[in-house]
Symmetry: C2
């Protein structure tokens, strides 16, 4: 059981060093872990190395000797590549090591990956998260976790270094993914609704700063309204989270529901708005760009535009 001690110290690998992964790696470093990292983008790896991380040239090299690998990529296909692809990390991980998968994916995909990892004597935790890059950098993410309880207990200190709220939702992969999917349904609808409402307020000639103040103190508020509308008020569409992320996530939501013949008209309308944003050339911009879709259609000038 020597390999199965609680990971209060030791080596952790982070695969995927985008705005989320980089912040999570920094949180792990502050907590005293030796953090190695890999990303397909050389620029991301360089940024990680500049912040003091041990840069690796492949998932396998990053995971070499790490009892815990945290995967912060965007979907099931990338997660599969990280594990099983060329220079994938799975066989570089010691037996009994724990793979923490943070990507949003369908529950079936998480279950399938979990079974393939378990068959090799390693552990797969289904660990999607909520909270943006600022929370990632602070070690204050919310995680929706499911997987083997002993593996969870073992890497608990690693998870606590990255998260302020940890929801343990089941003892097998798939449950975490399912809760995250419900969250993404709501988050996607709320972003689109926030953009619809603020653009409509602009059409009505209202003072948008006042609209923000009033709504955030009223029953029409949402976490996303409070978080995304400031991007519109500042006219800053640099991507904190891109339009394409919600095209992906609402795509998963709607694929799941269609497979069960379950209608989701609100989520369906929201996806169409994100697709309109991408079709307008804003796919890599901040997801609050949906407000610009309404504004362009209606000939409105939002703050910082025009």
């Amino acid at each position: 059981m020597a390999a199965q001690e609680r990971m209060d110290t030791g080596a952790v690998a982070v695969i995927g060093l985008g705005s989320m992964g980089l912040g999570m790696a920094a949180s792990l470093g502050r907590a005293g872990y030796r953090v190695s990292g890999f990303d397909v983008s050389d620029a991301s790896v360089a940024r990680f190395a500049a912040s003091g991380g041990r840069a690796a040239s492949s998932p396998a090299e990053a995971a070499d000797g790490a009892s815990c690998v945290v995967s912060v990529v965007v979907n099931a296909a990338q997660t599969e590549a990280v594990l099983f692809g060329e220079n994938g990390c799975l066989h570089a991980m010691p037996e009994g090591a724990v793979f923490v998968s943070c990507a949003t994916m369908a529950p079936d995909a998480a279950r399938s990956l979990g079974e393939r990892v378990a068959a090799t004597g390693r552990f797969f935790l289904d660990a999607p998260m909520s909270g943006g890059s600022a929370r990632a950098a602070e070690g204050a993410l919310t995680m929706m976790l499911s997987g083997d309880p002993d593996a969870v207990a073992r890497v608990r200190p690693v998870l606590d270094a990255m998260c302020s709220v940890l929801h343990v939702l089941g003892d097998a992969p798939g449950q975490g993914a399912a809760f995250k999917i419900v969250n993404q349904l709501l988050a996607g609808v709320h972003i689109a609704a926030a953009c619809e409402a603020i653009a409509f307020a602009a059409r009505e000639g209202l003072d948008l700063q006042r609209v923000y103040e009033v709504i955030t103190q009223s029953a029409g508020n949402s976490w996303m309204f409070g978080n995304r509308v400031p991007h519109v008020l500042e006219g800053d569409y640099s991507p904190r989270s891109s339009v394409e992320i919600f095209i992906k996530d609402l795509g998963i939501v709607l694929d799941m529901a269609r497979a069960r013949q379950f209608p989701l008209p609100l989520a369906g309308s929201a996806l169409q708005m994100f697709l309109m944003a991408a079709a307008s050339g804003m796919g890599k911009d901040d997801d609050s760009s949906v407000a610009r879709v309404y504004a362009r259609m209606a000939g409105l000038t939002l703050p910082g535009e025009g």
Copy 2:
């Protein structure tokens, strides 16, 4: 200017004694005002009288001698009837008295009523509110106010007795209504989205109490999710706010937008869900009944149902 003193004491009338108006009348009574009241429902008037209010048999009788009349009816047509209909209150109000109109209505309707009242030497404050009947009873509503600044200053103590947050948004009727309409767009979409998400979670077999706990701590949260989903978890669809209220309010939102050729696809989808609930016989039930629409379609059993 004797009639134009600050109303720290005196007679206030409340027209419309439903769950909101009754609570507001009680808050005014606690603050030391002499409160007279009227409602078209004899049962509501009796409830008001039993709580110590002075029951009147018409808006005119309630308003007789009151320097401030608070109108808590549901739409512009009812507000017009309260003011100008048979035994309407307008001409029973002393010159210089202030009519506080709390109904949600289109900005144009508020402007028009305001002009007609002003022409008689009284004042019309456009004062829609946010917050349910519990907040009304506590004197803790949020009000979105616009109208003559002197009239606002005069009835400020009356408003403070009913509200914990008072947004003064402009010096003429219409501005308050416009902010409320933006709030209702969001509130309506968020209720429908909350119902869509919790029903989908039930379809996925998730523990709905856990879903509530996780979402209310995540980026998918909204004020409405936190407020309405407990009704679904308790299987209690007695109306705190009915499906028909949002059919009315989203109807106003969408009529306004259509008149301006402004598209609101999210709000449009939400309205269809409230219409499905009403078509299913749930129009007078709590607006969280939208969850039951999804559940019935998909053959799901929600808590307390089936």
